[in-house]
């Protein structure tokens, strides 16, 4: 072997070769127990019986279901999905706004002179814990619970969104209000204005855009989750999708998935446009 080819081989060798091989094999060793725990056997997907069932199901996707009656139903359900999200967000605001005002330390009078007094501190802390609990229960679990209490239908979905998103909004609103410039609010409070006056003239003018943009973003998320809530019986597009899937009606599933994607894309566009306009 001439020295010329040796030099060329040396240049082509990866200097980080040993490290790469080590980390790749370490990752594989770590992934193995995960694959066992999740019963991950991808070859099951390609067993003849499964392939046959899947192929048949996918074949029924084309053409997507049409028909005036079906399309009218899909349109009605899509609107119901949006309506569930909107009503849920409205109730979430009804829940979140008072809780924010009670729990934000930006409106504390006793904190103006150093430490917050003990009573208000524990009141605020308690309300903050309540918000955290509300938001950390997944909306799907709330929906499961409310479906038991109020029965199948949009009420369960609305309540689930209201509670989870109320917690989220309350927590984030509080953080937004506390992260802004505190001087105007403090000046107002020190000069004897009430808390509401300090809110309207000190906190809101600087934070209104951010608060609105976060609310719009959450509305978009609520539309997405209201479809998912339909799967446990909370009405809307999700419930119809679930029914069609259980009846292996691929055409209807395809239409509804397309409508759902269009709905999400539309909400995404509207929300992005609004947030851009808010700056």
């Amino acid at each position: 072997m001439s020295s010329h080819t040796l030099a060329r081989q040396a240049a082509l060798r990866d200097p980080a070769w040993a490290g790469r091989v080590f980390w790749s094999s370490a990752a594989l060793v770590l992934l193995w127990p995960l694959a066992v725990a999740t019963e991950f056997r991808p070859w099951v997907l390609f067993e003849p019986a499964n392939v046959k069932v899947s192929a048949q199901f996918i074949k029924t996707f084309f053409p997507p279901a049409g028909g005036t009656e079906f399309l009218a139903m899909v349109a009605r359900e899509a609107w119901r999905t949006v309506a569930i999200a909107t009503v849920g967000m409205t109730l979430a605001l009804v829940l979140a706004v008072p809780l924010t005002l009670l729990s934000t330390s930006a409106l504390s009078v006793s904190a103006l002179s150093g430490r917050m007094a003990r009573g208000p501190f524990w009141l605020r802390q308690g309300l903050r814990w309540l918000l955290i609990v509300l938001r950390s229960v997944p909306e799907l679990v709330w929906a499961l619970v409310f479906v038991r209490v109020v029965g199948l239908g949009p009420t369960a979905g609305v309540l689930a969104i209201a509670l989870t998103y109320g917690g989220m909004l309350g927590k984030v609103y509080g953080e937004i209000l506390e992260s802004g410039e505190a001087h105007p609010t403090h000046a107002l409070l020190r000069n004897g204005s009430g808390r509401l006056q300090a809110l309207f003239y000190g906190l809101l003018p600087q934070n209104a855009a951010e608060l609105t943009s976060y609310t719009v973003y959450r509305w978009e998320c609520a539309i997405r989750s209201s479809v998912v809530l339909g799967f446990v019986g909370a009405g809307g597009l999700g419930q119809q999708l679930d029914t069609s899937m259980k009846m292996f009606n691929g055409g209807e599933v395809a239409t509804m998935l397309l409508v759902f994607m269009a709905l999400v894309a539309l909400a995404d566009r509207v929300s992005a446009g609004l947030r851009k306009a808010l700056g």
Partner: protein, 303 residues
């Protein structure tokens, strides 16, 4: 909005401004330009040129229409009957089933949830990176014909939620955690692929250009010039999605795709409320733990 001294001076009537009666302040003042902007009447409540007004009107319309068209059973929900059934429902949760055998089962369910989320995220990171390359324009001269269709595919993967993917995949993967893992991987591939392709496109082009002018092939240009630059960003996106996926995996089982959610819907379906309470507590604990860890690690990293 300014909160400087200007705002304070506004309370004095500015020179050349209209007086309270709407007449000019004085004949001699007319010639000097106004030092401050003159007072104006507050704007009318609705003005066709004000976009905010249209926004508020649209929101009000949407809210009213939503309330009007949805058949909400408030009467039923707010009635004494509902309160009583709610009370009974909550009371049934106590006492939670804390027998060692069931706790072990819940523990395995929690581990399964964690494993589903981790494996789903890893699969999605690999698939997302594989799709991010055709979805991005790697250098300015590239034609990148695969970019629009790949982006469309990523958007489609992303816009279907995990739970819907799980319900679809149950048909070919069968009941169990594999369907859940694949569902998480599908949705997360869409999310990560998009984030990765943005990261790759935003990477500084210098090193890649240097290698390309030396005649190095596109794969090795990516591996040795672009990937080392964006790897920290890719890792942080992946960890962030893992955190989201743990939360999603906890509830994914409701449609039968394994993990804690499957235990929850199983025992709730059988009205075994004590066991349901234990599963719910495990779920909340898991979510709280993930939240706390992510919060403290973020604080530790940004300190």
């Amino acid at each position: 909005m300014t909160w400087g001294p200007q705002a304070r001076y506004r309370s004095l009537p500015p020179k050349g401004a209209l007086s309270a009666f709407g007449r000019p302040g004085g004949a001699d003042m007319q010639t000097t330009p106004a030092a401050n902007s003159p007072y104006r009447l507050p704007p009318p409540l609705f003005n066709a040129r004000c976009r905010g007004c249209w926004f508020v009107a649209a929101v009000l319309l949407l809210v009213v229409a939503s309330f009007a068209t949805l058949d909400l059973q408030w009467a039923q929900f707010l009635s004494l009957d509902a309160a009583r059934s709610m009370g009974r429902f909550v009371a049934e949760f106590f006492p939670p089933d804390l027998s060692p055998a069931f706790l072990t089962k819940v523990g395995w369910g929690t581990l399964e949830t964690l494993a589903m989320s981790a494996l789903g995220t890893v699969l999605a990171a690999v698939a997302g990176l594989a799709l991010a390359l055709p979805a991005s324009r790697l250098h300015a001269g590239q034609r990148a014909w695969a970019r629009p269709p790949t982006r469309l595919l990523l958007n489609a993967l992303r816009s279907v939620p995990e739970l819907v993917w799980a319900a679809l995949l149950l048909i070919s993967a069968g009941l169990g955690p594999m369907a859940g893992t694949l569902a998480l991987a599908m949705h997360t591939t869409g999310v990560l692929g998009r984030l990765f392709s943005e990261a790759v496109e935003n990477a500084s082009p210098g090193p890649a250009d240097a290698l390309r002018t030396q005649g190095v092939g596109p794969l090795r240009v990516f591996l040795y010039a672009t990937l080392p630059q964006v790897l920290p960003q890719l890792m942080s996106y992946t960890l962030y999605r893992w955190e989201n996926n743990i939360r999603a995996a906890a509830v994914l089982g409701v449609v039968g795709a394994g993990g804690l959610g499957q235990l929850l819907s199983f025992h709730m379906g059988l009205f075994q409320m004590g066991k349901t309470a234990t599963v719910l507590a495990a779920m909340l604990l898991l979510v709280a733990l993930v939240d706390g860890l992510s919060y403290s690690s973020r604080r530790w990293l940004t300190r």
